[in-house]
């Protein structure tokens, strides 16, 4: 196996992992602080991608479109929190699952009514469509490299926000003990609304940048939502650090598994079996990872609550 292939797949894993992190970060904070299962998180990712595609069509500028889509999705997220989700904080997990599942159905249909059933076309910005040469003999997609850069930047911003600001301190306090934080005067209600806005904005970033690679279509949020849940369960619910580690683990394992497992299997089994079983095993790999992590550390790798 040539080393350039290995590096390319590792970069792909890093790129996917960082985007997963953007999704998982909002999810894990909502989950950890509000103790709320929000299945509709993936719908915000979809809205972000749709808004980006629409604004690109209107304005012709990818970066401006992303900015507007992030703001728009954050607004949608905050409106959702104020109208529906706020009613659910004191309810049990089951009610939250049912209500947010209902939201998925509603948002999917509203998107279908506005944009139609056909997938939207969203292409990478012009200047970034080609490959760049990283090392002699190793070239890599400029667009994916940009995603890695943006992902790292947003992750750094988020860490600064959570670890170095007063709002972040409130968030961490809320994640480790909500009642105590409230008793100490943390303004929980506006904080929750703000948090939803931030989480929705992060979803929109992921949706905007993954849109050109995956597809902008109805239901795009659901598959990736499950992955984001796997990430936060591996990382430990409520922990940003855990979300990052979990996302990178899942991103790398998933990408590498898809690339290399069929190859490895073909060494030991017949080509037919390898072609059949390889992709299946690769899809299973992250769930195996999660089951293994939960088996040995039932609270995830970095539990936020003690």
């Amino acid at each position: 196996m040539p080393p350039s292939l290995l590096i390319e797949q590792l970069l792909n894993g890093l790129q996917f992992g960082l985007m997963l992190f953007l999704l998982a970060a909002g999810l894990t904070l909502v989950f950890g602080i509000m103790d709320m299962i929000n299945l509709a998180h993936g719908s915000l990712y979809m809205i972000g991608a749709y808004l980006t595609a629409t604004f690109v069509g209107l304005l012709g500028n990818f970066w401006l479109a992303v900015l507007l889509a992030v703001l728009g999705t954050a607004l949608v997220g905050m409106l959702l929190e104020l109208s529906v989700l706020r009613q659910l904080y004191r309810r049990d997990h089951l009610s939250q699952v049912l209500a947010t599942f209902a939201l998925i159905l509603i948002i999917n249909e509203v998107v279908r009514i506005i944009w139609g059933s056909q997938p939207l076309l969203l292409s990478a910005p012009e200047g970034l469509s080609g490959p760049v040469e990283l090392l002699p003999g190793l070239s890599y997609s400029a667009y994916r490299l940009t995603i890695i850069g943006v992902g790292l930047l947003v992750a750094a911003l988020l860490f600064w926000l959570v670890n170095r600001t007063r709002v972040g301190m409130w968030l961490r306090a809320g994640a480790s003990n909500r009642e105590m934080a409230q008793a100490m005067g943390v303004p929980i209600r506006p904080l929750f609304t703000l948090l939803f806005g931030v989480g929705a904005g992060l979803c929109a970033v992921a949706g905007a940048f993954l849109g050109p690679i995956l597809a902008v279509q109805i239901g795009m949020g659901e598959g990736i939502l499950i992955l984001a849940f796997v990430v936060i369960v591996i990382g430990g619910i409520g922990s940003i650090k855990g979300a990052l580690v979990g996302a990178l683990l899942v991103g790398t394992v998933d990408t590498a598994g898809r690339a290399f497992l069929p190859l490895l299997l073909s060494q030991v089994a017949s080509p037919e079996v390898a072609a059949n079983l390889g992709p299946a095993l690769a899809s299973i790999l992250i769930y195996l990872l999660m089951a293994a992590v939960l088996f040995f550390r039932p609270q995830g790798l970095f539990p936020a609550r003690t």
Binding site: S95, V97, A280, A291
Partner: protein, 303 residues
């Protein structure tokens, strides 16, 4: 509850001849589907409602039951009884394996790990190209020896199985076993302190629930004559969970009520508009916000 139940059973028994006389065969099919889904939802209600185990992977057993029918028929085994035995046995075995691992975790982690196992089964089954892969597999109806499995026979068969299963579940949740199961749901530490083997009680309920879901899956394969990967997908688990929550978690008739209501609402809205999912979503949302105990909770007289 006695009289309404008796009337319902009489109505269901008398429906097929009435339907064929009045040209309403379509509704006989719908009722068959509802009864099968009611069985699956009731099996989930046993662990979710009475056991407090929120399994987000029930589609694994449901789908496995369906695939057992399709694969065995394809391999030339055509005895319905054998096929049912395999479907139920395999589902029970799978539930035993998954339950033994998952029941070590609690709360949200339990939800996620059951989901993870169901996803593994999904991808595993989809990878077998010789059994249809992502296209699913045709499932011819097997032979039951005593009768031919026509649409009407399947209707009565589903009714009989559902009635039998509900009787069993009713006896079970009101037995000592059922009481202990509910005690564990209410306060696990106390049940443990009283000396009950909590893990074993939960595991037995989990396996029983999986087995019943497998049987429902087999019936579903008879109904659609097709084993679809969708039956194994996480949306199916979500759908079953919706039915239980909609009907009433831990209410005995919750699964049946939820399955019937959701299926009928979907059917009606599908006729009205292509955007029927919007309607389903709004109704579900309304019920969560304004009827927290589900439909069975609304019907039940306040004490």
């Amino acid at each position: 509850m006695r009289w309404p139940l008796l009337l319902l059973v009489l109505f269901l028994l008398a429906f097929p001849p009435i339907a064929s006389a009045t040209g309403l065969e379509f509704y006989q099919g719908l009722l068959t589907k509802i009864m099968i889904l009611a069985l699956a939802a009731s099996s989930l209600n046993l662990i979710l409602g009475y056991g407090g185990m929120v399994s987000f992977g029930h589609a694994a057993y449901f789908g496995l039951g369906a695939y057992a029918v399709a694969i065995l028929m394809r391999e030339g085994i055509s005895s319905g009884w054998v096929i049912w035995g395999v479907a139920v046995g395999l589902s029970a075995l799978l539930a035993l394996l998954i339950g033994a691992i998952c029941l070590r975790t609690r709360g949200v982690y339990f939800i996620m790990i059951t989901l993870a196992f169901a996803q593994m089964i999904y991808y595993l089954v989809v990878s077998f190209k010789q059994y249809g892969g992502e296209d699913g597999l045709r499932a011819r109806r097997p032979e039951f020896g005593l009768f031919e499995l026509t649409d009407t026979a399947l209707y009565y068969l589903s009714l009989a199985v559902l009635a039998g299963a509900l009787y069993l579940l009713h006896r079970l949740v009101h037995s000592r076993f059922g009481r202990v199961l509910q005690a564990i749901r209410e306060n696990e530490s106390r049940a443990l302190a009283l000396g009950y083997p909590v893990f074993h009680f939960q595991l037995v309920a989990f396996v029983l629930s999986g087995a019943l879901a497998g049987l429902a899956g087999a019936l579903m394969a008879h109904y659609t004559q097709y084993a679809s990967p969708n039956l194994l997908a996480w949306q199916q688990s979500g759908h079953l969970m919706m039915m239980v929550i909609l009907g009433g978690v831990g209410q005995f008739w919750g699964g049946v009520l939820g399955a019937a209501t959701l299926s009928i609402v979907e059917e009606v809205l599908q006729d009205l508009t292509i955007h029927w999912q919007l309607g389903v979503g709004l109704i579900l949302l309304f019920i969560v916000l304004f009827a927290p105990k589900g439909l069975a909770g609304l019907l039940r007289r306040r004490p």
